[in-house]
């Protein structure tokens, strides 16, 4: 029977899930090349966490617990994917999961800064980034639509990510210098 304590516990677990969502999303996005499946996996993880809330003990490592759940969900989704997709092996995923940095802090600020940084990209690079991330197109499709080579697209996307990362980090450092 549901008690007030068990209800509160479920709410606590759900609250923790929301707090860890940015990291979790980054984790799942990193392992799943298919953007459209990421939300399904996050949703599955959320439902699993809710159903198994009683298994979580307050004060223990929520992050480790929820990432384990997400990892299993990712593996399950990978197994169901097209054979053309080559997933990372389980031991690699495990190793990566152990090394995930704390990305939750300042996530919203980073999103805001990213908007500013995107404006600094060259028009062609920005268009490619938008096609890749807004329209979920792969480099081959972008190349075809823009009439350029696939390698060129890959190189430009790679450089753009480096530039954007550096730009966001630079602005974050400026924030901390000026106490924002």
């Amino acid at each position: 029977m549901e008690t007030r304590e068990s209800i509160d516990h479920v709410l606590l677990v759900q609250k923790l899930f929301v707090q860890h969502m940015p990291q979790l999303r980054a984790f799942v996005l990193s392992l799943m090349p298919d953007f459209s499946q990421v939300d399904d996996i996050i949703q599955d993880a959320f439902l699993t966490v809710t159903a198994k809330a009683a298994d979580f003990q307050e004060g223990t490592n929520f992050k480790a617990w929820v990432f384990t759940i997400a990892r299993f969900r990712v593996l399950k989704a990978m197994n169901a994917m097209d054979r053309a997709f080559l997933p990372l092996s389980e031991d690699v995923i495990e190793k990566l999961a152990a090394a995930i940095p704390d990305q939750a802090s300042g996530y919203d600020r980073k999103l805001s800064l990213l908007e500013q940084c995107l404006k600094k990209l060259a028009p062609q690079a920005r268009r490619m980034v938008e096609m890749r991330y807004y329209e979920a197109l792969k480099p081959a499709a972008i190349a075809e639509l823009l009439g350029v080579g696939v390698n060129g697209v890959s190189v430009l996307l790679s450089r753009s990510r480096v530039v954007l990362r550096a730009c966001v980090e630079q602005k974050l450092q400026a924030d901390s210098r000026f106490g924002r």
């Binding site: 996050i42 995107l118 807004y134 790679s158």
Partner: protein
């Protein structure tokens, strides 16, 4: 680690263009080098941020993508589902008088301090009308911009951002939250009922002032709530508690009363043999509902000779969306949107399309291929319809169905088609 080579492999991985040889090399690097893992996460972070940023524009992208393939189903399915996701527990009707003898002594509806009652008149389903017009205009007139505004992706992205901000600030929040009452400015009533119900409608408006939320969630974390700005929308009557206080005035001649609550999945009846002015109904147990449902509530007062003195009705829809944080499926391509595994709670809202925005009531036709057609006249322009497809008491069976939603007096039609098979429902909506 060969930095440049590894970085190239990681970039290729994130762009989904890594071949088998490249993948093996990447795995080797990730297993052996902490620097490679660190770079992997650095790239992952910007990758996730960009995707998050892109998700806000995914609605527009989905529309474009859908147009390229010539179909609109995915967009429509998402749009319909968005309405369900945005709402938690919805009291979709105040006590509204049904057909009965003239009301001489009806008093105003009492406004509970913690109640969540809103004034909506409803008409019972009529199963006699047959469908003769075939497929009407599909709601293709709705502009893509308007559809985009209704897409859940953007709302979801905003909601998530707000949730993060809220979660970050949770420690600073010490007081419980509450929301002020909102009074709807319009009570839709059929013309037939209008004369008899002047008293009741005015009182019903008063009852709407008592919408107070948060009894159960007080002190806990509540996500920001999606706000619906459609003035006639029942979603204004959303409450966030499983305890629904029902309140009424006992009519003088009444000797006893019977409260009957019927949902798709459950129901019960209780009797009052003395003057009673309220009943606290627990719509479900636990922190969130086990299943979504639409309940019809009927309160019948009888005199000492067992004649009906007065009958009041209301309805309440339970949807899972806002009982605590909930993950929302934002992928228009997800198969989940096309799969329903139980009784269906179907949202309807005239505000979905500009051309129907002024409608005051709705009509839902359910047509079985090679079988009967059922026309449901609904005395409101927005709300939820409970379609009991499965379990005891269902009059439906396996087969193919067409659903046609229109708003009388306006043009345009939403339609959906599904096949009910033993393992579930497969639905597409356009």
């Amino acid at each position: 680690m060969d930095d440049k080579h590894t970085q190239g492999l990681i970039d290729a991985w994130f762009d989904g263009v890594l071949d088998a040889g490249g993948k093996a090399a990447l795995e080797k690097a990730l297993l052996e080098s902490s620097a490679a893992r660190a770079f992997f996460w650095q790239t992952a972070q910007i990758h996730a941020l960009l995707r998050e940023k892109g998700a806000g524009s995914a609605g527009a992208a989905a529309v474009k993508s859908d147009n390229r393939t010539g179909g609109r189903n995915a967009v429509r399915v998402v749009k319909v589902a968005a309405a369900a996701a945005a709402v938690a527990l919805v009291a979709t009707g105040a006590w509204v008088a049904q057909r009965m003898p003239p009301i001489a002594s009806r008093q105003s509806l009492a406004a509970s301090q913690s109640g969540a009652i809103a004034p909506v008149a409803s008409s019972p389903a009529e199963i006699t009308e047959s469908r003769g017009s075939g497929n009407l205009h599909v709601a293709a007139r709705v502009s893509d911009e308007r559809a985009y505004l209704s897409m859940p992706e953007e709302a979801w992205a905003k909601r998530e951002r707000q949730a993060r901000i809220f979660a970050a600030n949770t420690d600073r929040i010490t007081k419980t939250f509450s929301k002020k009452a909102w009074v709807r400015s319009f009570v839709p009533l059929t013309s037939k009922e209008e004369n008899k119900m002047k008293t009741i409608s005015a009182a019903a408006v008063l009852s709407a002032t008592a919408v107070i939320m948060g009894a159960v969630m007080a002190g806990a974390v509540s996500e920001p709530t999606l706000i619906d700005t459609s003035w006639g929308d029942r979603r204004w009557t959303t409450v966030y508690t499983n305890m629904v206080p029902l309140r009424w005035d006992w009519p003088e001649p009444a000797f006893n009363a019977e409260l009957n609550i019927v949902g798709m999945g459950s129901g019960f009846t209780t009797n009052f043999n003395e003057i009673t002015n309220g009943y606290d109904w627990q719509a479900f147990t636990g922190p969130r509902p086990n299943a979504e449902d639409v309940y019809d509530l009927t309160l019948t007062f009888r005199d000492a000779s067992d004649n009906v003195v007065e009958a009041l009705s209301a309805s309440l829809t339970v949807v899972a969306g806002a009982f605590g944080p909930i993950a929302v499926n934002t992928s228009p391509d997800s198969r989940r949107w096309g799969l329903v595994k139980g009784n269906a709670v179907i949202p309807y809202c005239a505000g979905w399309a500009e051309s129907t925005d002024g409608a005051r009531d709705s009509r839902l036709i359910i047509e079985k291929s090679g079988g009967a057609s059922q026309t449901n006249l609904i005395g409101s322009a927005s709300g939820y319809y409970g379609w009991k497809l499965a379990g005891n008491g269902s009059v439906y069976g396996y087969g193919s169905y067409g659903l046609y939603l229109t708003f009388p007096g306006t043009e345009g039609e939403w339609d959906a088609f599904l096949t009910y098979v033993p393992k579930g429902f497969f639905m597409s909506i356009r």
